[in-house]
C-alpha cells in the first residue's frame, strides 16, 4: 500500500477535474503487485485492453508471461480483482507493437477473450479464444478460432459483439499470400478474415474473407452496427504500396461488404507501422476515425469524419510526438485520447467535441515517467473513461469531465 501511494504521487495530474480521479488511486489495492513473480516486468506485459460489461463492471485483459490474465473492477478502476485463470496451460501470448490480448462482453454478461499465440516461425500465429459464462469465475479451455492451420500469419485479433449477441472475431491472415508464393505469384500484403459465433462463443463459423491486401502489422478497428453487421477499418495496401486505410462490412452470414478506401494520405511505403486506426459512429450514424500516417499529403495522427470518397472535419491530433490515439462517441459527443512524449514523460491527452467533431477542446489527463501501454477510450452511460496501463500506475482509469 505504501509503495502504491508513492507511485500514485508520481502521476502528474493537471486540472482540478482530474486530481480527484488521480488521488483515488491511493486507495487502489492491487494485491498482486506485491507478490509479482519478477522484480522487473516485461514491456509486453503492459499490453492490455478493457471493456465495460452491461452491468458496468470493468474488465481488463493483459498477459503475465505465458498466461492471459483477466481482472475485473466494480469501482471504475480503484480496485481490481483477478478473474480466471484463462489458460491453465501456459502458451506464448502476443503483446508486441500493436498486438495485445482483447476482451469483449456479451449482452448476458459473457466475457470473451482473444489473443494471438505466436508460433515458432517469425510473424506466424494462431488466433486464440476463451470465454467465461459465469461472470469470470471460470474460463473455457482456449481454442483456435480459424480452421486454417498452416504455420503462417493469423495475427492481430480483434473482437466485438453485435446487438444480437453474435461474436465477431477478425484477424490479419496470410493464407492468400502463402498460396500466391507457392504459385510463384506476387501478392500485396496480407488479408483480413473473420469468424462469427451464434452460440456465445461455444463454436465459430468461418473463415470468411473480408478483403485482400491489408497491411501486415496493425490492429483492426471494429464497430457493431444497428443492423447486426460489423464495420471493420484497417490499414490497407492500395496498389502499388499505399498504406492508407480501408473499411468494409462483415455480415453475420459471412458475406463481405464492398471494400472502400477510408483515408487518402498517399503513404507509399513498405513499412511496419504497428499503428492501427480506431472507428466509432455518432447518433446520426456518421462514422468518425482516428489514424496515423506519414503520407505525402500529411504526416501525424489525424481525426476525421469518414464519407464516401473522402474525409471531412479533418484535424491533426496532438503535437509532433502524438501517437496511438483512440476514440469513443456518445450521441454527438466525440472523445479522442492519445499519448505524447515530452522528453521526460509520456503525457496522456484528450480532446472532446460536443457537436459531432466540428469544435474541440483539448486537455491533459495524466503523465508518467516510465513505460506505458496505448491508451483505450471507453464509454459508459454517456461518460468517457481512459484506461491506461502504465508501469508506474497499472490499470489506471481516468474519467473525462
Amino acid at each position: 500500500m505504501v509503495s502504491r501511494a508513492r507511485t500514485s504521487l508520481r502521476l502528474l495530474c493537471v486540472g482540478l477535474f482530474f486530481c480527484s480521479a488521480a488521488l483515488s488511486h491511493e486507495q487502489h489495492a492491487d494485491h498482486e503487485a506485491s507478490n509479482g513473480s519478477s522484480s522487473k516486468a516485461a514491456r509486453g506485459d503492459l499490453g492490455s485492453s478493457a471493456t465495460f460489461d452491461p452491468q458496468g463492471t470493468l474488465w481488463a485483459v493483459s498477459k503475465d508471461g505465458g498466461h492471459v490474465v483477466v481482472r475485473r473492477s466494480g469501482d471504475l478502476g480503484r480496485s481490481w480483482s483477478r478473474a480466471g485463470p484463462v489458460n491453465a496451460v501456459p502458451e506464448a501470448v502476443g503483446a508486441d507493437g500493436d498486438s495485445r490480448p482483447k476482451v469483449a462482453a456479451g449482452p448476458g454478461g459473457e466475457i470473451y477473450v482473444t489473443w494471438t499465440k505466436p508460433l515458432s516461425k517469425p510473424y506466424t500465429g494462431d488466433i486464440r479464444f476463451s470465454r467465461s459464462v459465469d461472470g469470470g469465475k471460470t474460463f473455457s479451455a482456449p481454442v483456435t478460432v480459424h480452421t486454417d492451420r498452416q504455420e503462417i500469419t493469423h495475427r492481430f485479433d480483434a473482437i466485438t459483439v453485435n446487438r444480437n449477441g453474435q461474436v465477431f472475431i477478425a484477424w490479419i491472415d496470410k493464407r492468400d499470400q502463402a498460396a500466391a508464393a507457392k504459385a510463384g505469384a506476387a501478392y500485396r500484403g496480407a488479408a483480413v478474415y473473420y469468424a462469427v459465433s451464434d452460440d456465445r462463443g461455444a463454436s465459430f463459423r468461418g473463415d470468411f474473407k473480408l478483403g485482400d491486401h491489408s497491411c501486415e502489422c496493425c490492429r483492426i478497428a471494429l464497430l457493431p452496427r444497428d443492423d447486426g453487421s460489423v464495420l471493420a477499418m484497417w490499414r490497407h495496401v492500395f496498389a502499388p504500396n499505399i498504406r492508407d486505410h480501408a473499411i468494409a462490412q462483415m455480415n453475420p452470414d459471412g458475406r463481405a461488404g464492398t471494400l472502400r478506401r477510408a483515408t487518402f494520405d498517399d503513404w507509399r511505403v513498405d513499412v511496419c507501422p504497428h499503428h492501427g486506426p480506431s472507428l466509432a459512429a455518432d447518433a446520426a450514424g456518421r462514422l468518425h476515425a482516428v489514424w496515423f500516417t506519414q503520407g505525402s499529403k500529411r504526416a501525424g495522427v489525424f481525426y476525421s469524419r469518414l464519407k464516401d470518397g473522402g474525409v471531412e472535419a479533418q484535424r491533426r491530433v496532438g503535437a509532433e510526438t502524438a501517437e496511438h490515439a483512440d476514440l469513443a462517441i456518445s450521441g454527438q459527443r466525440v472523445a479522442v485520447a492519445w499519448k505524447e512524449f515530452d522528453g521526460e514523460r509520456s503525457r496522456l491527452r484528450a480532446m472532446l467535441s460536443e457537436d459531432g467533431g466540428d469544435k474541440w477542446r483539448e486537455r491533459q489527463l495524466a503523465a508518467t515517467a516510465g513505460a506505458s501501454d496505448q491508451p483505450r477510450l471507453l464509454e459508459r452511460q454517456g461518460r468517457f473513461y481512459v484506461f491506461w496501463n502504465t508501469r508506474q500506475e497499472p490499470l489506471s482509469v481516468i474519467p473525462l469531465p
Partner: protein
Amino acid sequence: MIRVFSRVAAFGFALMFTAFALPAAAAASTYELRPFDARSLNAIREARAGRPFVLAFWSIYCEPCREEMGQWRSIQRKYPDVPILLVSTDPPEERVTVARFLSQYNPGRVETWAFADDFAERVRFAVDRTWRGELPRTYLFDAGHRPEARSGRLDRRWIENWLARQSAIPRR
C-alpha cells in the same frame, strides 16, 4: 585540452568496440548486442566524430526488416569503409530471440545493438522526435553527422548513392 582528451578517449572506445565486434560478426553465428538507450546516439556520434555511419532500426516483429538483413550484408561488403549499426527496438526481454534472429538472417559484419531501456519513447525521442516507431527506419549520418532519414523497406538506390558519396570523401 579536455576536448582533445575526450576525442582520444572516444577513439579508444571505438577501437575497443571494433575489437570486440569484428570476431563476433565474422563468425556470423553469434551477434553481440550492445545496449542502446537515450544516451547512445550521442556517444556513437562522439566516437565517430568526422566520419559517416549508417544507423538502422529494426525489430523481430517487422517483416520488411527481415528482408533487409541480407541487403545489409551485401552493402557492407561493397562499402566496408562506412560502418553500419543495426539497432533492434525489441523490448529487453526479447534479447535471446533477437540474437537468434540475427544469427539466422545474418546481416554480416555490422554492429548490432538492442534497445536496453524499457521506456521506448525516451529512446526514440533521443534519436528523432518525429519518429513514431514505424520500422524499418534508417538514418544516414554523413561526416558532418547531418542525418537523412527514411522509413520503410530499404531503398537501395538511395543508400548506395549516399554511400558512394561518403566513400569518395578521403579518410583521415
